[in-house]
Symmetry: C2
Subunit: 343 residues, 2 copies
């Protein structure tokens, strides 16, 4: 399988991206081709640092980078030679099977939409983030692709999340919850109230509105929300996990007895720290585009980049897109003319 | 000081509310009067269980309760004799200085708005939740009062949060951040982009858009967002904190060595667990109404109810409302006729 990596994006640029690429190639023999797209001199200099001359690497030079302060759509239109656009081009032309970007999320979404188009029946793609519970994982969609979403787009996310949960995570009949302010049907804002009605009418295994405790303590399998809310949930989880471990570490170092205790129980901390560490998850698929695009964390370490490439390889194997198309087609067929079709 | 407690609201009703009231009266001698509003037979039965015949208690009978499935505004209009409405009436008539409710948040907000009115210059009240950082606390506004907020209302929240942070939390020139999807000026949804411009023009100490890490790792002092997003942040924090400690507990119990370690380091866990425990915070002030209203957690334990009553007593002492009115008046005076006034 062939993957195109935007080697310029992310908070730390080529060092972390190329570092992660080198790690991935060492570990994953089924990656047969890895395009590193961006400033070729910078990329090659990083490769030399790692003493890497793996023949599966192909450096594709591009002269521009989308800055974090650029507006997504205009960046894609104006910076024709940006690393993210060129990486998506490789997928469009069939030279690569998937693209991975840790850069400007909006630009990766816009470039994918413009160049690859959305799947039939899908208006806007959504990021499907996989998050841990104590015993399993759930999918949160949309984690930040579509920040001014419309109700019917959230319904599309519910379908895509269900397909992903079934075909990739292995849940037979995944439960779907809508993020709201209370569990009762009447709770929510104008948008969620409308989405609630649509979900209730659909064939999905919709359990209703959900709140915080349905995320981790008593979780549903597919969590649906708009991209703004989803991104806030994701980043809040990340921030508070880091904070709790930091606070705990300082408290544990305050007395000799606590230090001994912490030493004896070290493995327990590491297990939970790994579980809550985004680096282990690597990247999240952008579902709904006609191709495979993996969005990695902006602050990706080499380990996170390696894992994002692993997720890309898995997505190439899993091929959920035909299942999404089929599910949406079936919904639109069974929807009476009185109800709105998905598109 | 005199406080009216809605003794029927919350997930657990009179047992927890009356239990918390009894605890508060034992601890806080400066509460000179505590109205317990609701079904008097149930309230008196709970008081008997606690063998409490404190002369500061006054039971006020009401025949109705707002259910969690009721719509907020219609519940206040239709259920004239609900415990929350009657409790707000006591404040309106000057018999109580503050109301505390753990019931339907929307109903407490609606009853306060209808009966007490908002402060001059304030369209909609906002819940100011105080959250912990490692060394301090910050205020998140709005944590769930106003779920379909307009941009100018978020500007009002920024002013109210700043006043609260200055006069109650003691920050001299509190930094204000706007919850968004990225730190760059261009990031956000349609609403936050508009609010961004307003905040930038204002006299507030606005630091720009903030993301997850500005909540706990590198925090600002006032976090501004709409009520939907704020409530999601609050509940996500609560849920993931509970989950992490639960996961950690199970991991710590898996081997005898870890168990010994956990025992030695027990105090460190308890310190952090307390820090992240909403029960210790008790309740959050609803800022912007012409009176004092404290919103407690729906799942309040007696300890949480006691602490909500403590927050009410503190709010009566602090009296932030005149400062809010003054701050908004000054803003509106200095705003040129070309810019929109706050009201």
């Amino acid at each position: 399988m062939k993957i195109a990596l935007d080697a310029m994006g992310g908070d730390f640029g080529p060092p972390n991206l190329v570092g992660g690429a080198v790690m991935a190639l060492r570990e994953y023999s089924h990656i047969t081709k890895l395009f590193l797209v961006g400033d070729s001199s910078k990329i090659e200099s990083e490769l030399r640092k790692h003493q890497c001359n793996d023949s599966r690497i192909s450096v594709v030079h591009s002269t521009q980078v989308v800055d974090m302060s650029d507006s997504a759509w205009s960046a894609v239109r104006r910076k024709k030679d940006s690393s993210v656009s060129r990486a998506v081009d490789l997928v469009k032309r069939g030279q690569a099977d998937a693209i991975v970007s840790a850069g400007h999320t909006g630009a990766a979404v816009a470039a994918s939409m413009i160049k690859l188009r959305t799947l039939p029946g899908i208006d806007r793609p959504g990021i499907a983030a996989v998050l841990p519970t104590e015993t399993n994982v759930f999918v949160l969609i949309d984690a930040g692709a579509n920040i001014d979403a419309r109700p019917e787009q959230l319904l599309q996310y519910a379908f895509m999340g269900t397909v992903y949960s079934r075909h990739v995570l292995g849940y037979k009949n995944p439960t779907v919850g809508l993020v709201s302010l209370g569990e009762e049907d009447v709770k929510g804002n104008e948008m969620t109230k409308e989405v609630f009605k649509m979900l209730k009418k659909s064939s999905l295994n919709f359990v209703g509105n959900i709140e915080g405790r349905h995320l981790f303590e008593d979780p549903v399998e597919v969590v649906v929300c708009d991209g703004f809310v989803g991104n806030v949930i994701l980043k809040t989880c990340e921030s508070i996990s880091v904070a709790i471990f930091q606070w705990l570490k300082h408290e544990l170092m305050r007395t000799p007895m606590r230090k001994i205790g912490a030493f004896l129980a070290k493995d327990a901390f590491l297990t939970i720290k790994d579980k809550t560490n985004y680096e282990e998850y690597g990247g999240s698929p952008l579902l709904g585009v006609n191709g495979i695009c993996i969005i990695a964390h902006g602050a990706s370490t080499p380990l996170a980049v390696k894992n994002a490439l692993r997720v890309a390889a898995e997505s190439i194997e899993q091929q959920v897109n035909p299942h999404i198309v089929e599910e949406i087609r079936r919904y639109n067929e069974t929807t009476t003319s009185l109800e709105p079709a998905l598109r």
